[in-house]
């Protein structure tokens, strides 16, 4: 539940950040490699299948504005996820408008969703994908708080800044999300299996 889970330390990022701000593309690549997977997973929770596209947009905006960024590596991560969130919300609005227009769009959507669920049952998902999918089933506020705290490795204050909420609200959302996850049938089922299979 800390940043150490992902082996991503801000002091390691600081040098790369400083050079990337100066325009060094190799250093930008370091930042990207370290952070992109987590941006992508966070965006899966925010905007589902559009995550890849929105992540690309996010990094483009970061590229454009990076030379004006002033702050620590921690602040950079907050900035990055803020941009990602805003981009994701914009994408959701666009998608909503797209789907509002044709009459049978909702039926198509529903059919697609069912298809995806079946596919997910058949194909064995990597445990990382399964975990992100599970977190994405939480109420939106809780899902985002959990992703930002656990996956993005932000602290409460940073998460609060990304979400535009107060720290107290972030703490509560995270706690409720984790509690709900612990009670999720899939998590409990696995716990039971582990007990049965255990030595």
């Amino acid at each position: 539940m800390t940043a150490s889970v992902q082996g991503l330390r801000d002091e390691d990022l600081a040098d790369a950040l400083a050079a990337a701000i100066e325009g060094d593309s190799a250093s930008f690549a370091v930042l990207w490699r370290c952070l992109h997977p987590f941006v992508l997973r966070y965006l899966r929770v925010v905007c589902g299948d559009a995550a890849e596209d929105v992540a690309s947009e996010t990094w483009l905006q970061v590229s454009r504005d990076l030379s004006r960024f002033r702050g620590t590596a921690t602040a950079f991560r907050v900035w990055l996820f803020r941009i990602a969130r805003h981009r994701g919300i914009d994408e959701n609005r666009r998608a909503w408008r797209r789907h509002e227009e044709p009459h049978d769009a909702i039926d198509q959507l529903r059919a697609a969703a069912i298809e995806r669920d079946v596919a997910a049952d058949v194909v064995e998902l990597h445990e990382t994908d399964r975990a992100v999918r599970l977190i994405a089933t939480l109420p939106r506020e809780q899902a985002e708080a959990v992703m930002l705290r656990v996956v993005a490795g932000l602290d409460v204050a940073g998460t609060a800044r990304v979400l535009g909420k107060r720290s107290g609200a972030v703490r509560i959302a995270t706690m409720r999300g984790l509690r709900r996850l612990a009670e999720h049938p899939e998590v409990r089922a696995h716990t039971d299996e582990d007990d049965e299979d255990g030595p």
């Binding site: 539940m1 100066e22 690549a29 992109h36 987590f38 990094w59 445990e127 612990a182």
Partner: protein, 231 residues
């Protein structure tokens, strides 16, 4: 692994999995992302310059709109423009000045002759940065860059000092490396950098800057380099 997981048991495993290091397919887009960075990145100094240029353009546009309104009151405008103004009653507010010239194609304004056709960003390219250059540019960045690069290439060449150095620091954000990159971009030296839109408003364009003693090697032909920047 099951027994040594985080204290939260299965939930801990789930969270660890969600935060696991990036996997190959998640990192597949690196080349595209870096290419995007090369294209989209804009050095900080340019932002200041661009704002100045934008302000200058807005000012010029406001003046020309004011002239248009004046001309309209005496009825000296072509019919479409006249009717457009008549419909709106009040002349356009100065805050919309930056956008309105597009809707007034016949307006004779100082910007009309200098705007390159088909330019995508009116605020950046519409005016030669005469205003900002005159205000803050006694030093030609191109000359300074030539001197800087000459010194980098040949230690016997005179180092860049004084106003030239200050200007380079200001434009690049400071530091040898930043200056080097700035100059490479400005002069089109680096093979990896293709010209980007950020390069179009070249600061040396007016060619009015009084140039200090030329320090670069004689082999550098200023006009040729200017040409390459403008292309």
């Amino acid at each position: 692994m099951d027994l040594e997981g985080p204290p939260e048991g299965r939930l801990g495993e789930l969270l660890s999995a969600a935060a696991a290091p990036g996997r190959p397919h998640e990192l597949a887009g690196e080349a595209a992302a870096v290419a995007g960075f090369r294209t989209a990145y804009r050095p900080a100094a340019r932002h200041r310059r661009r704002r100045l240029v934008a302000l200058a353009v807005a000012g010029v546009a406001a003046v020309s709109i004011g002239g248009t309104a004046f001309a309209a009151t005496i009825g000296h405008l072509p019919a479409p423009v006249q009717s457009w103004l008549g419909r709106d009653e009040a002349p356009p507010a100065p805050t919309s000045a930056a956008r309105t010239p597009n809707r007034l194609p016949t307006t004779p304004g100082p910007t009309a002759t200098t705007t390159p056709p088909g330019s995508s960003n009116p605020s950046a390219s519409a005016s030669p940065s005469a205003a900002s250059a005159a205000a803050s540019d006694p030093v030609s960045p191109v000359e300074a860059c030539h001197a800087f690069l000459a010194f980098r290439a040949d230690p016997h060449a005179p180092p860049v000092t004084g106003e030239q150095r200050k200007e380079l620091n200001r434009l690049s954000g400071g530091g040898e490396k930043a200056i080097q990159e700035y100059c490479n971009r400005l002069l089109g030296v680096a093979p990896t950098m293709t010209p980007t839109p950020t390069m179009t408003p070249t600061p040396e364009e007016p060619a009015t800057a009084p140039t200090p003693e030329k320090k670069a090697k004689p082999s550098h032909d200023d006009d040729n380099n200017k040409q390459s920047v403008l292309e």
